[in-house]
């Protein structure tokens, strides 16, 4: 088990804010931290890695990483960390990046093979694509068989298809190594695919947690489709009003009543819902 009970004052998006998180994580689980930016997710990861100080306690198995007046250095924690911006050692080749962490050629070869990077092992990081670089970073993080793998929005800089491939690889590595993992992500489909548990952070506090189904499927059981979106524009077409709404990456047009048209304005967060007894899926 990993026990986390920490507090830290920090500058969030809305001024001073208190990060106060209490969590118990089972070994081998895959936890996704989500929430709006500035809610303290990255800081929490950095505290777990020992890169930032905090008050409180962190216990991993029977090791104590943080206690009042004592913090184990990042070097001694044996964690893997995947940064959003890859952070590879640009003076080393792909293989050297891995061997720098641990001189275990066998493991390095294995990791490079399952992520299909072995052809690129002598290349320098700057000659690789973003997706390839992040794969190298992922392999590098696994090199000393970490007790805890931390990933800070590892896929957010990649395009959709690359993201999908990497999600599969992350899942594969998680199955192979059974590493307890905490990942920050904003992408619901990614969370659904990977997480065994979701923790939603808001202004430094946990506001919701549970399985991806419980947290993400807000309409479960109600037989309704409901989508959160942003109202972009209200158009008038003869006697009806049409709202243009952005839901995720997609724009939809919805007919609204005159009353609604008067009370809504562009930029509002709205929810579009409909009864859906027999939706067509194609």
């Amino acid at each position: 088990m990993i026990h986390i009970d920490i507090t830290k004052s920090l500058f969030g998006s809305g001024g001073m804010m208190e990060l106060s998180v209490s969590l118990a994580i089972e070994e081998g689980s895959f936890v996704v931290l989500t929430g709006v930016s500035g809610s303290g997710k990255t800081t929490l990861l950095r505290i777990l890695a020992g890169l930032e100080s905090a008050e409180g306690v962190i216990r991993v198995g029977n090791e104590r990483w943080l206690e009042t007046g004592m913090a184990v250095a990042p070097q001694q924690r044996r964690i893997g960390f995947v940064f959003q911006e890859y952070a590879l050692f640009s003076n080393m080749s792909v293989e050297e990046n891995l061997l720098f962490v641990a001189n275990d050629t066998e493991l390095a070869t294995y990791l490079l093979e399952i992520t299909e990077l072995h052809m690129l092992k002598d290349r320098r990081p700057h000659s690789l694509s973003g997706g390839q670089q992040q794969r190298v970073a992922l392999c590098r993080a696994m090199m000393h068989r970490p007790k805890l793998l931390l990933m800070d929005e590892p896929l957010s800089a990649l395009d959709a298809s690359m993201r999908h491939t990497l999600q599969q690889e992350i899942a594969l590595l998680h199955r192979e190594f059974q590493t307890t993992t905490i990942m920050v992500s904003h992408d619901p489909s990614e969370i659904y695919r990977l997480a065994s548990r979701v923790v939603v952070l808001e202004a430094g506090h946990i506001v919701r947690e549970g399985s991806p189904k419980e947290v993400l499927l807000q309409t479960s059981g109600s037989q309704k489709f409901a989508f959160e979106g942003e109202l972009l524009e209200i158009l008038r077409a003869d006697v009806i009003f049409i709202a243009v709404v952005a839901i995720g990456q997609q724009l939809v047009e919805v007919v609204i009543s005159e009353y609604e048209a008067q009370h809504l304005k562009a930029g509002d967060r709205i929810r579009v819902s409909t009864k859906a007894f027999a939706p067509m899926i194609g």
Binding site: Q76, A87, S90, R124, H126
Partner: protein
């Protein structure tokens, strides 16, 4: 031409280069941890330290030379202590010149190193710590190899600047042949006794060497930037 080259007294140049080499070596060792500290700290003392260490750039060499004379003289406390501990007389000696040059050239070593360290991707350094590597291993194997242009600039500019030193050297070292009479002082003396031919030759050699040194730095840095594909990636 060959005859002319044979008549040139090379000792001042050799001395200049020995002085520059010693200064560069010592300054590199001192500046590396200092520049690293400055690049990583958020301490309130940082601006004071930075201002203090940049002083030699703006001060007239005579100010530095004057204080060195006062501090290093055998009658001063420091001068006495150094004399008793190492049995070295720092004024008007080569060792004294090295000490004075180290102060004089300090910013030329510190500043490029510091900005080199600062230009590194912080996450890359953190990735090294997380990989279990100590600060020293990180500096030597991750930081320095990724800032070769800064490293080259620091070393070469310090070296070149020390070769080009004049005021401090003259004040602290005087002009003792084979001991403190470096090239710049030799040129000054030639002009003083109106040996313009000698001065021309010495000055031309200085220009030629300095230009070659600077040119090689710029070529090296140009190639490195191209090779690493930008400093921070």
């Amino acid at each position: 031409m060959l005859e002319l080259l044979k008549t040139i007294e090379w000792t001042p140049f050799i001395l200049s280069f020995e002085l520059a080499a010693a200064t560069t070596l010592i300054l590199f060792a001192i500046s590396l941890p200092l520049a690293w500290y400055l690049s990583q700290t958020n301490s309130k003392t940082k601006p004071f330290l930075e201002a203090l260490m940049a002083l030699p750039i703006v001060l007239p060499p005579s100010v530095l030379g004057f204080y060195m004379l006062v501090l290093l003289s055998p009658s001063s406390v420091i001068g006495t202590v150094i004399h008793e501990l190492f049995n070295v007389q720092l004024l008007f000696s080569f060792s004294g010149l090295v000490v004075a040059s180290c102060f004089y050239s300090l910013p030329f070593m510190i500043q490029p190193l510091q900005s080199g360290f600062e230009s590194l991707n912080k996450r890359m350094l953190e990735a090294s710590y997380i990989s279990g590597k100590s600060r020293w291993t990180t500096i030597l194997r991750v930081a320095l190899p990724n800032m070769k242009p800064a490293l080259m600039t620091a070393v070469i500019i310090t070296f070149a600047h020390t070769v080009g030193e004049f005021g401090v050297v003259l004040m602290v070292g005087g002009s003792i042949v084979g001991e403190t009479k470096v090239a710049s002082v030799a040129i000054y003396e030639m002009v003083e006794i109106m040996d313009y031919t000698g001065a021309h030759i010495y000055a031309a050699i200085m220009i030629g060497m300095s230009f070659t040194v600077l040119l090689s730095v710029y070529i090296f840095n140009h190639r490195q930037r191209y090779k690493l594909g930008g400093l921070s990636s």
